[in-house]
């Protein structure tokens, strides 16, 4: 991934924080660290930059904000959320649609960001884990995951929560067996499954659906 040109294009990201985030500091340091002495950063950008026709500027609707990014056509929605928009809550577990860690909502439906081309996600309403809490409080599903100790390492957790919220809204959380079946697309290697099911059972009535 082209970290150096990410910094150069930060101006396109209207949400860029005035502070340098830890992520940007670390990736910039790493990029500079691998350059041989005397090589200018500008020529490194030319070497890494993809062919011009492979990139375009897209606008995505994410968490009720319009976000612009210059993207490689090959990038997935997951790539762009994490690497261009700094929304690192969605995780890359397998990058092949098998683990569910990258689950987001697109037009109200749970989908896998790793198998969605970013260019194909234009004009759709995208909600990530960063977008489910209100200003005042956590989403009932987030609170339920905490109350029920429904995570250990936490890596699958954003995808589990996004999947769980949608599962309840779909009406597929009426009992533990149904929850297990309709959450089967989200893997947890820490095996927090019993507590995830308990969390969903707790949150569903608070969301108004069972």
């Amino acid at each position: 991934m082209d970290r150096v040109s990410d910094r150069g294009k930060a101006k396109l990201d209207k949400q860029q924080s005035p502070q340098v985030s830890r992520r940007h500091f670390l990736t910039a340091s790493a990029a500079i660290g691998v350059l041989p002495a005397g090589v200018e950063i500008a020529s490194a950008q030319q070497a890494i930059e993809p062919p011009a026709q492979l990139t375009r500027t897209i606008t995505l609707n994410v968490n009720e904000r319009r976000r612009a990014a210059e993207i490689d056509l090959r990038s997935t929605l997951l790539d762009v959320l994490r690497d261009k928009l700094s929304l690192t809550g969605s995780k890359m577990g397998c990058d092949h649609g098998q683990c569910g860690a990258c689950t987001v909502h697109i037009d109200g439906k749970r989908q896998l960001a790793c198998l969605t081309l970013s260019v194909s996600a234009e004009e759709r309403d995208i909600v990530t884990i960063e977008g489910v809490a209100s200003r005042e409080r956590l989403h009932p599903m987030q609170q339920a995951f905490i109350d029920n100790d429904a995570l250990q390492c936490g890596y699958c957790t954003p995808g589990q929560i996004m999947s769980a919220i949608a599962c309840v809204r779909e009406g597929h959380a009426s009992n533990a067996d149904e929850i297990r079946e309709y959450m089967s697309g989200n893997l947890c290697r820490c095996a927090a499954y019993p507590n995830i099911v308990a969390a969903i059972e707790q949150a569903a009535p608070k969301m108004g659906r069972g």
Binding site: P50, P51, Q53, L54, L73, R74, T76, D95, H96, G97, G100, T103, K109, R110, Q111, L112, L115, T116, L117, V119, S120, S163, A166, C167, E170, H172, R180, E181, Y182, M183, S184, G185, N186
Partner: protein, 337 residues
Amino acid sequence: MRPFDYQRPARTAHAINVAASQDAGGIRVQYLAGGTILLDLMKLDVVRPSLLVDISRLEDAGLRGIDRVRGGLRFGALVTMAELAADRGVARDYPVITQSLQLGASAQLRNMASLGGNVLQRTRCSYFRDVSYRQCNKRTPGSGCAALDGHHRSHAVLGVSNACIAAYPGDWAQALIALDARIEVIGAAGGRSLRFADLHRLPGATPHVETVLAPGDLITGFFIPEGPWRRSCYVKIRDRASYAFANASAAVALVLDGDRVTDVRIGLGGVATVPWRAVTAEAVLRGHMLDEATAQRAADAEFAAASARDQNTFKVPLGKATMVRALLEAKALEIGE
């Protein structure tokens, strides 16, 4: 992923023209709908299109409806698996269709995957999916088949050849083939309708040719002839309780007069190289009383032509037992009026 160009035409006719003309010019073109198979295989470098034609936003009503029409049901090719699985009328009158969708993939994948793309899904053979294996007649015609003497536990026992034993992994296709579905295709030369059973080709000597579709052809819809198929079900046997491909599966639809079978349709998954209509088993059952013994005789007849290798011999008794179970479950269903 290799570089590609991307277009998103607004009209179906334009999409087909772009795909057909680019293909004729030697550009490898793929239609992109849900992307659940295509992007996976592009990341593995198995599929290498130079141009993606994104059809996911095409607005033509014919691509998106679930409709009762004269003589049966019609589904648009861009309907998602989840949308069709949620249709209550289909669930009541054709439960085998609903169950074959519900038991496939995951909720997220079902929200993304189109019906048209679903039937075109590729095999899960680990040699096909890994380009570091040179021997794959599906990817590289004439290069050989690494699975024959390699790992083939999940491979087919029906419809195989000595060039390819890769299993067709889909579920919904078994309901389609059992119920005599037809598909609508539009291509450069116009529109046509064909039997779903004629879509897929046996591997034979040319496993790289999987369907009868021509470059630029686009599946636009599915037609299910109406039938008395409330007594139907889909049984799927897999290593896990959920979220895994079938080791063996059976789509069954039955019409009974007491215990006597007046009509029966059977589609078999997990055990064959293509969607598999069990015509031999059906012939054994028609007109006879259905019990475990006759079901077993029918299964034995269907699998008599099976050709297994060391690691997938279990698929013969498992495939038979799955068919028997599905027949007896369908027989036991309480059908309301």
